[in-house]
């Protein structure tokens, strides 16, 4: 201990060994409740969607450039990797949208207690699954 404040941070574990207490956030020792997983997923899906804007930019720019460029972009979107990207993009968009609405409700001051945020959390997960499937069923039917 170099600092007297460390006295509060050092404790014995169940074996009687002196260890430093974990500081929050300490994800490797916490159980992962739904709210915690959805919180980091909201951020992760936001970052994924940022990468996904490259697809939208490519699609729009290709349409503005030439028939060949647009055909190439459409070919990629229809390829196995392209479809996987688009599926991931749909999941991320649906999740980020539903989770975002959940965040907006919190911002308005509602739904902070455990029963409410657990219900809205599961509602977000289910809505994401249903909306993604719906979009893909309609999309594949049109295609």
């Amino acid at each position: 201990m170099r600092d007297v404040r460390d006295a509060l941070m050092v404790a014995r574990n169940t074996d009687g060994k002196l260890v430093r207490r974990p500081l929050s956030p300490h994800v490797q020792v916490y159980r992962w409740p739904l709210s915690m997983a959805l919180s980091i997923l909201h951020r992760a899906s936001g970052v994924a969607l940022s990468v996904g804007t490259l697809l939208m930019t490519w699609w729009l720019a290709a349409a503005a450039v030439s028939d060949e460029a647009f055909a190439r972009a459409q070919w990629f979107m229809g390829s196995a990797i392209g479809l996987l990207c688009l599926f991931g993009w749909t999941v991320a968009l649906m999740f980020h949208a539903f989770s975002g609405i959940r965040h907006l409700v919190w911002d308005a001051g509602y739904g902070f207690d455990a029963p409410h945020y657990n219900t809205s959390g599961w509602a977000t997960v289910i809505a994401t699954g249903v909306a993604t499937l719906l979009v893909w069923i309609i999309g594949l039917a049109v295609w």
Partner: protein
């Protein structure tokens, strides 16, 4: 000197509101937070419209796609979607960087790069949409 001025105290010349203004990670008070919410709300209907449009355009030829965006309503909604998307993306990525990058110089570089990329991608989308839509 009176006894009151000898007692431990802090001279505050600014009002509490004056002190709070300009605080926050962006030094712009609540503007960043508020605009993130405003763009989020705008993106809910715009995103729904975009999904429906794109699903309808699955496997479309360039002519079909161009015809769709050439409608004034589609083009306007597309431009609104682009502006809201890239603004929301910039604000969001900035918060992520501020949370995880703590070295000041790296943080400034990363935030500036994200801002520059957001503007550039947004411009490419806007110019492309206008080129095919007008």
């Amino acid at each position: 000197m009176s006894d009151a001025s000898k007692a431990p105290h802090i001279d505050i010349m600014r009002s509490p509101l004056g002190r709070a203004r300009g605080l926050g990670s962006t030094h712009k008070g609540s503007a960043h937070w508020w605009l993130q919410r405003v763009t989020a709300v705008a993106l809910v209907p715009l995103g729904l419209w975009f999904i429906f449009s794109v699903v309808g355009l699955t496997g479309a030829t360039r002519e079909q796609m161009t015809a769709w965006i050439a409608s004034p309503v589609s083009l306007s909604l597309m431009l609104a979607l682009i502006a809201a998307t890239f603004y929301h993306m910039w604000l969001g990525l900035q918060v992520v960087i501020e949370d995880y990058v703590h070295q000041e110089s790296a943080k400034i570089v990363a935030i500036s790069a994200v801002k520059g990329l957001s503007i550039l991608l947004g411009l490419i989308c806007i110019v492309s949409a206008l080129k095919i839509g007008l």
